[in-house]
């Protein structure tokens, strides 16, 4: 099998994982912030 496929796969996976992880962190932060605001409003 052509080794270029492995190189491409490695870089695509790296981009997906590292950018995806950033997206996941920011999304989780938004959800937690929204939940906290909701709690403060319901006080």
């Amino acid at each position: 099998m052509n080794s270029i496929i492995f190189l491409r796969t490695a870089y695509i996976i790296s981009w997906v994982v590292y950018a995806g992880y950033l997206g996941r962190l920011l999304l989780r932060m938004r959800l937690v912030e929204a939940e906290r605001k909701e709690m403060e409003q319901s006080k």
Binding site: S3, I4, F6, L7, Y11, L26, M29, V32, E33
Partner: protein
């Protein structure tokens, strides 16, 4: 939140874009392995950041056991999570390099096995934090992390102590070790960029952990008010 996204998204994209460009378009092609050697830059940089994160987790865990500060607990949790991501990438990129170069995806040699065990230790740490219902979860996790870190020096030394399929150390490996200057320069830029990437993730994950702690405290207070 918007400010964090405005800083972190472009920074991460620039770091990934810059390193990808350097590794794929600027760095010279290695004579023996050819283009597939370019995986090495992300593989080593991910490994370095993973180990750095586990070291931060180790120090923060000791600090938590000593001072019981919620900040150090949040830092320990954040660094372990980021470390697991980078260590997973280390293993994954290693297998993608091994298949065309060795002809196999995986072998149970000392370096690969101890690294897999290391990853499993920190996955267990995160599972413990997530699912333990004990009131002492943070203390248990911190003690677990202190013992878990013992595998990091074993991973580092494994290619020195044992004869392995994994290549010998290229940095600090004795008189026969070393890299061509252009490859070394590219590697160092990758290591610096990934260190910054790791710090951005730790910072974001720390902020998230602190938010979650505040939310948990608010829930506990609300429950107390309801019970009163």
């Amino acid at each position: 939140m918007k400010k964090l996204a405005l800083i972190s998204i472009p920074l991460v994209l620039i770091l990934l874009g810059l390193t990808s460009y350097l590794n794929l378009a600027v760095a010279p092609t290695e004579a023996t392995m050819g283009d597939v050697q370019r995986i090495f830059y992300y593989h080593v940089a991910s490994g370095w950041v993973g180990m750095f994160c586990f070291f931060v987790n180790f120090v923060a865990s000791i600090w938590y056991l000593w001072k019981r500060s919620p900040q150090s607990d949040a830092l320990a949790a954040a660094s372990a999570e980021v470390g697991v991501v980078f260590c997973a990438m280390l293993l994954l990129l290693g297998t993608l390099w091994a298949r065309p170069v060795w002809g196999i995806w995986w072998t149970w040699d000392a370096r690969l096995t101890t690294t897999l065990v290391l990853w499993l230790i920190y996955v267990s740490y995160l599972i413990l934090r997530r699912f333990s219902t004990s009131g002492q979860t943070q203390v248990l996790a911190a003690a677990f992390a202190v013992f878990g870190f013992a595998d990091v020096p074993i991973v580092y030394m494994s290619i020195r102590w044992f004869r392995t399929q994994h290549p010998s150390p290229v940095i600090g490996g004795g008189p026969d070790s070393g890299l061509a200057p252009a490859i070394m320069q590219t590697l160092l830029i990758n290591v610096a960029a990934f260190t910054l990437l790791g710090l951005v993730y730790i910072w974001l994950s720390y902020k998230l952990q602190r938010e979650e702690q505040a939310l948990e405290a608010a829930h506990a207070q609300a429950a107390l008010r309801g019970a009163a």
